[in-house]
Symmetry: C2
Subunit: 240 residues, 2 copies
């Protein structure tokens, strides 16, 4: 016993009054080990998917052993979930640091789009993890309490920019912030997630720098054009 039931969080912040200065070192080392495993596991899961990933392969590339993976994370799925949570926590933290409340709404919106674009570009592993989780119909994500708690500040940021733009009069169309976030995200995400099939079919390397900057501006322009457009959505005639 004491072998199982260890995973799922540190939980050992000296409960009693005494400081337990000694414990810090151990705690520190444990965190290091966990993080080391987490990093390698992220790569492995991102590269091969959940069932494609090999626990042994992860263990080999870690400075610890497979035994430790099960000690800390309980199971392959437990490890996967931890990786997923870790990745999401990462982006949420960065998103929360966005400070775009002031200044020209158009410029702020361009910035925000540029940020999302760059983040996805810089974090293909995160994109892959999300993709994989979708293949599994977000079933692991749903089991996670920590992922449920995370609030998504980027929506508030978008909403704020939108409101200011409407007050100023530059944005003449009302758009749901989440819808807009989806419009932005989808393009940024797709560029990374589908780069291989899309690139192959159309004979393009989506990683190329010139294309990257062209796409970045394209998305920004499209969103701005949409927001400035007064037209409340035209009808298309039904099937001829």
């Amino acid at each position: 016993m004491a072998d199982t039931e260890r995973f799922d969080e540190p939980e050992d912040l000296d409960a009693d009054g005494l400081p337990g200065r000694r414990r810090v070192k151990q705690q520190d080392r444990t965190t290091k080990t966990r993080d080391d495993i987490l990093l390698v596991a992220r790569e492995e899961f991102a590269a091969n998917g959940l069932s494609g990933a090999r626990v042994d392969a992860i263990a080999e590339r870690t400075r610890t052993s497979k035994r430790m993976i099960y000690y800390h994370f309980g199971s392959k799925e437990g490890l996967y979930l931890a990786v997923l949570e870790h990745a999401y926590t990462g982006i949420r933290k960065v998103e929360a640091e966005l400070r775009l409340a002031d200044g020209d709404p158009v410029e702020a919106m361009r910035r925000l789009i540029g940020f999302t674009f760059d983040y996805d570009e810089a974090n293909p592993d995160f994109i892959r993890l999300v993709t994989i989780e979708n293949i599994h119909r977000a079933s692991h994500m749903r089991q996670s309490s920590s992922l449920g708690r995370l609030n998504v500040s980027i929506i508030d940021t978008i909403a704020a920019i939108l409101r200011r733009g409407q007050e100023t009069g530059v944005f003449r169309r009302e758009v749901d912030p989440i819808d807009l976030h989806m419009l932005i995200s989808s393009f940024c995400f797709f560029r990374i997630s589908n780069r291989h099939t899309f690139g192959h079919i159309f004979g393009r390397d989506l990683g190329e720098a010139t294309m990257r900057s062209r796409h970045r501006v394209l998305l920004q322009d499209a969103v701005i054009a949409l927001l400035k457009d007064p037209q409340p959505g035209g009808n298309e005639p039904e099937e001829a």
Copy 2:
């Protein structure tokens, strides 16, 4: 022998001069068997990914046996590739039937977007297969000769609409047709591919009908607004 090297296409159109009318029935049955396997395999692969899919599971749900899968397709990967080719052939065929050359460019563009939107919505399994193939970095796709031959008529269609719009003067911006296709596709694709994670995080059911039609119009409006917009792409100031 004669056991391997059977897969990869019918190839048995009576080589000699004799008609071989009888053969038709047999050929027919073979096609039925193959298609039966292909259908079940598509579901299994779409549901569980390449390594997650179980050949035994596919065999069980087929009216034939595992033996037949290997008889017809050679290997698990061979089967997967066949499924992928089949799926791509499907959409290419439908795309080629689009007739949008005439009429109002704006209306034609709305139609085209609506078509892509609806196709993705109606074929989640296809979306999943593409997703899975991207996880594997399109490595199987690259091995396929049949997928290389397929030309993508939708790009020509887009280009034609764009040209007409520019001639008419309604479209004031020049956009690369493939870029535009990507902008359209990404949104339609994302709505399906990421519906689970996105839905969970934002507490939304992306399958809901009201949201579906709202998103459909949103994308159409965004693209049209972009195309009408004369501005050749504004700069965003660098990091403050």
